[in-house]
């Protein structure tokens, strides 16, 4: 007997199943429309759309099976609490902040401003946001330590990739 208070994935599975079925159908449809390259005298069995078409159809079938199974579970326990994928309360806050910092660094800073500056800003901000507890004394000392770690990490990564591996940094 399953625990009625335990959060379930049934609702997530229902929507994911439907989304996967749509993705599968769209893939199969697009694969069908891919050229058969007959004008180049190419064997029709090597048409580029064959394998993605089969995979799309398979994904659509599995998506429907998942959705049907999940719908049955939802009907059996309509009041069941869904699993919180991103956590709850503090966990959710920590997740969102980490996600935001990582996205800003990887998608907005790297490649737009000099690599050293982007990395230093990101590493220091991450440590300061998660490592400082405002009520605890010694904030300045900890900030100084974070600064030193940031400088060492940034210089280390740049030395390793630019000087040793001869990589042109973004």
């Amino acid at each position: 007997m399953s625990d009625p208070d335990k959060p379930t994935l049934a609702r997530h599975d229902l929507w994911t199943g439907l989304a996967l079925a749509l993705l599968g159908l769209a893939t199969a449809e697009e694969s069908w429309r891919m050229p058969r390259l007959e004008e180049r005298g190419i064997d029709p069995w090597t048409a580029p759309g064959i394998v993605p078409g089969v995979l799309g159809a398979a994904l659509a079938v599995l998506g429907v099976v998942l959705a049907l199974r999940a719908a049955k579970e939802v009907r059996a326990a309509p009041a069941a609490r869904p699993v919180r994928i991103f956590g709850e309360g503090d966990a959710r806050r920590r997740f969102l902040v980490a996600l935001a910092l990582n996205l800003v660094y990887a998608c907005l800073l790297v490649g737009r401003i000099p690599y050293a500056a982007a990395t230093a800003v990101y590493v220091f901000a991450f440590m300061a946001v998660f490592g400082l507890e405002p009520r605890r004394p010694g904030v300045l000392a900890r900030l100084a330590v974070f600064g030193l770690v940031t400088a060492a990490a940034t210089a280390g990564v740049i030395y390793l990739f630019e000087t040793l591996f001869l990589v042109r940094l973004p």
């Binding site: 069995w45 394998v51 980490a98 660094y105 998660f130």
Partner: protein, 507 residues
């Protein structure tokens, strides 16, 4: 025989240098640290080191990667024992008995047993690598497009089944998503651009390293930051080096787990974590002390750590002989071999037999270094586990960003890493295993090329896919696996078996 010995000696001679010693000790130590830190997995370690070693000479680069691989799978036992958090997924079974032992004040003893078990497990796997790789490569020479197609299908089906044992449907969906991801970009027969929508970067397809660093790196960083911080069970250690009797007492368990681990490792995509779980379950079934399992059983700990490390050489066997990875870290190793100009596959015993023996030597060196460092540096490694996550994780993510960029020098790979990291995080939280997805990305091209080639060879006659002997074994196994996973079919079979004795005894 003489030529095999010559190849072995030639491979041995190529590693007789100070650089080898330095690389082995350094890489294994870093591997242990990577494995020990929650959030850094063996896959990610090997992927990041692929980017760090691509300017090295091929033999030394692969040596470094194998040392990181062996070190990381073993290193994960440290956090499993001391933090109750598996450092890598391969050490999840280790937490069951390792952490209770630490709580009982026997953390040092548990670490010692984990070290010796891991070393013996790897050595058992190495023996089988040495014995099985040459005949398997010979068998693989008989593989044609039909067999490679079925092998790819079998790989996805069994990886999906074993990596998501309680819900194979999600394992198969993950595998198909991986295969579909591999369809993006120029296909290899006619160079037609699929699903690229005119975007030049997409025409190149998704490279394996950014995908891996995303699903095992960014996704893990986000998970670590979301979950509450771990607390060390103890900072004091008892005797670390085990007595000989502590090891020999469970010799049956060690041999059984070594065999199971190696066998599981050989199966495409099914890696060290499943090797540990299956070894652990088998040990509990066979044990006279089954009641102690989960409460600090030394036998349970031995089984888990022997099983996961034995899977490493096991997972390398199909890499070398078929060009198909046995596990996620082995997938990166395979990609790294291609980057360094080594072409593993059925022809390896003809083209580069010394590389197979070289791999054996690399694994032995990694095992020796792992045992030495694991026992000698037990106390210093405690400090590594005390590095706060808010210091470690941003540095890890910086490497996740620069690593994929370094290989291709294009920002697109950074975005691929981010995209797959986010999708990977959500899928993992919804219990989709990542190993079949990664295997799908690798097998996509093999499946695509070989199905279309085989259809051309057979002129559209699909019957030949089912009648060739090796193909018949592969599709038969695939069908059995799929049917066995369907609850209705299982219930039908169970009912048929229950009915038979009754009808047999009827007058």
């Amino acid at each position: 025989m003489t030529s095999q010995l010559d190849h072995f000696l030639a491979a041995l001679a190529s590693f007789a240098s100070f650089a080898t010693l330095f690389n082995v000790l350094g890489a294994t130590f870093i591997g242990i640290v990577i494995g020990a830190l929650p959030g850094l997995t063996a896959t990610m370690g090997v992927a990041l080191f692929t980017t760090l070693t691509y300017t090295m000479e091929p033999n030394q680069a692969i040596l470094v990667l194998i040392c990181v691989y062996v070190g990381a799978i073993y290193g994960g036992s440290r956090s499993a024992i001391l933090l109750n958090i598996p450092g890598t997924p391969a050490n999840a079974a280790t937490t069951l008995d390792g952490f209770p032992l630490a709580q009982q004040g026997r953390a040092g003893f548990a670490m010692g047993i984990a070290t010796t078990s891991s070393a013996i497990g790897t050595l058992i796997g190495i023996v089988f690598l040495l014995l099985l790789a040459p005949p398997l490569a010979e068998l693989a020479l008989r593989f044609q497009s039909y067999e490679f197609f079925w092998l790819a299908v079998f790989g996805i089906v069994i990886a999906g089944l074993m990596c998501a044992a309680d819900d194979p449907l999600k394992g198969w969906i993950a595998g198909i998503l991986g295969l579909l991801a591999a369809m993006v970009g120029q296909e290899t027969i006619h160079a037609y651009e699929r699903f690229s929508y005119g975007v030049t970067d997409l025409a190149g397809g998704f490279n394996l390293i950014p995908v891996l660093v995303g699903v095992f790196g960014l996704a893990e960083v986000l998970t670590v930051m979301r979950d509450p911080p771990a607390v060390l069970a103890t900072t004091k250690l008892d005797r670390v080096v085990p007595r000989l009797s502590d090891i020999t007492r469970y010799w049956r368990t060690i041999i059984r787990s070594g065999l199971i681990g190696t066998g599981i490792g050989i199966i495409p995509g099914v890696g060290e974590d499943i090797g540990a779980w299956v070894s652990y379950a088998a040990a509990r079934r066979a044990s006279k002390e089954a009641h102690l399992f989960g409460k600090g059983s030394v036998e349970g700990l031995t089984a888990a750590e022997t099983g996961n490390n034995a899977a490493i050489p096991g997972a390398i066997i199909p890499v070398l002989t078929l060009g198909i990875p046995g596990s996620a870290p082995a997938a990166v190793l395979l990609a790294a071999m291609f980057i360094h100009g080594v072409r593993p596959g059925p022809l390896i015993m003809q083209e580069a037999p010394e590389f197979v023996y070289g791999t054996v030597i690399m694994l032995v060196l990694a095992t020796l270094a792992m045992a030495f460092l694991g026992l000698a540096l037990a106390r210093p490694l405690l400090y590594v586990l005390r590095v706060p996550r808010h210091v470690m994780m941003p540095i890890v993510f910086v490497l996740c960003v620069i690593g994929p960029f370094a290989i291709s020098q294009r920002l697109f790979d950074v975005w691929v890493m981010v995209g797959f990291g986010l999708v990977g995080f959500v899928l993992r939280e919804m219990k989709y295993p990542m190993a079949p997805l990664v295997l799908g990305v690798i097998l996509g091209d093999i499946l695509d090329k070989n199905l279309r080639r085989a259809l051309t060879l057979a002129d559209g006659d699909v019957s030949i896919f089912f009648t060739r002997p090796i193909s018949a074994v592969l599709w038969g196994l695939t069908l059995l696996l799929i049917l066995g996973a369907v609850p209705q079919v299982r219930a039908l079979v169970a009912r048929a078996f229950r009915r038979r004795p009754r009808s047999a005894s009827a007058p």
